[in-house]
Symmetry: C2
Subunit: 169 residues, 2 copies
DNA sequence: TATTGTTATACTCTATAACTATA
DNA sequence: TATAGTTATAGAGTATAACAATA
């Protein structure tokens, strides 16, 4: 839900049989499995978030604001993994909906400090619940222990993420 | 590597310290972890694939052709998770590079059957090796057993993937 | 002169809907 | 009339580079 890429035309409320089976090519390749998991989550979550008035992109921004307290829009953009210019319209819209507030830093009037409003905190909580439901539906084949295991493995893997060595380096 | 979304401007050969740390907001949310894993994999793999003359999208198509033997372009498109119209240019370019061959089905001349050429098989093998290296670099914090575990969990989860229940349904 | 945020532009990707050729 | 593939068009998303304000 980071890249929150273009949803692969899936109808989330449609009958489950409409979901095409996982091709062998994906089953055999962990990178493809992880990639598809990301797209599917985004596709399934999108309509839920829409009911809350936010996009998957907004969800990421709200979550980062809540948990990482970025000191500027640039820090926020970097944490969200996107270009600073992208953040402008995201913040604009969230501010227009009253979910965040933008204030100039008195110490350095170039910086604008963004913070969650009480409404923003509430919407984030609701979005977290929806994300949780979508995730639970995707992981329904796994036991609770296995879901925890998966979360732990992913957490440890991404904490240490680094570009793969290229040829001789 | 399915959605293979727009690479989040990462310089894969740059020094590892350049990779921003994982925000707490991601660490706490499995859906965000999975989403970011997908984007990161695509971003890191892209330049490697480029050296082989293919895109991440091409990689998916080649893998599906090898493992799932789709009987038509429509089946190929569905397995790749994209619109049929998208497949046309992908196949065009792969065919132009000699990696696949497109032949009309004599039984039903509307269908075009796509198959890997020997060159295509070789490029797929090389791409698989690169994907493996990128994946291994991302999972460097996990033991071999844990990496196998992760693959198994993801496989079982996605095999059963279904849209999340919506409110009352 | 460097940096933060903003604006403007161009480009890529994708979906959608006509169109053709076969059936 | 329906289906496989193709083409064309329009829209969304993004990156890039200029720009303004502040340091």
């Amino acid at each position: 839900m980071d890249g929150m890429s273009p949803a692969n035309q899936v109808e989330p409320t449609a009958d489950p049989e409409a979901v095409p089976p996982l091709p062998d090519a994906f089953a055999a390749r962990l990178p493809l499995l992880l990639s598809r998991a990301g797209s599917d989550l985004a596709a399934f979550a999108e309509p839920r978030f829409a009911e809350l008035g936010i996009t998957p992109k907004d969800y990421v921004a709200l979550a980062v604001l809540a948990d990482d307290e970025p000191g500027s829009q640039l820090e926020l953009a970097e944490a969200c993994g996107r270009a600073p210019a992208m953040m402008v319209s995201v913040i604009d819209q969230l501010a227009h909906k009253g979910l965040v507030a933008r204030e100039r830093d008195p110490k350095d009037r170039r910086r604008s400090v963004v913070r969650l409003t009480p409404d923003g905190t509430q919407v984030l909580a609701a979005a977290d619940r929806e994300a949780e439901r979508v995730s639970a539906a995707m992981l329904v084949a796994l036991s609770p222990d296995e879901q925890t295991q998966l979360h732990d493995l992913m957490h440890r893997a991404l904490r240490a993420v680094a570009p793969a060595p290229h040829d001789g380096d």
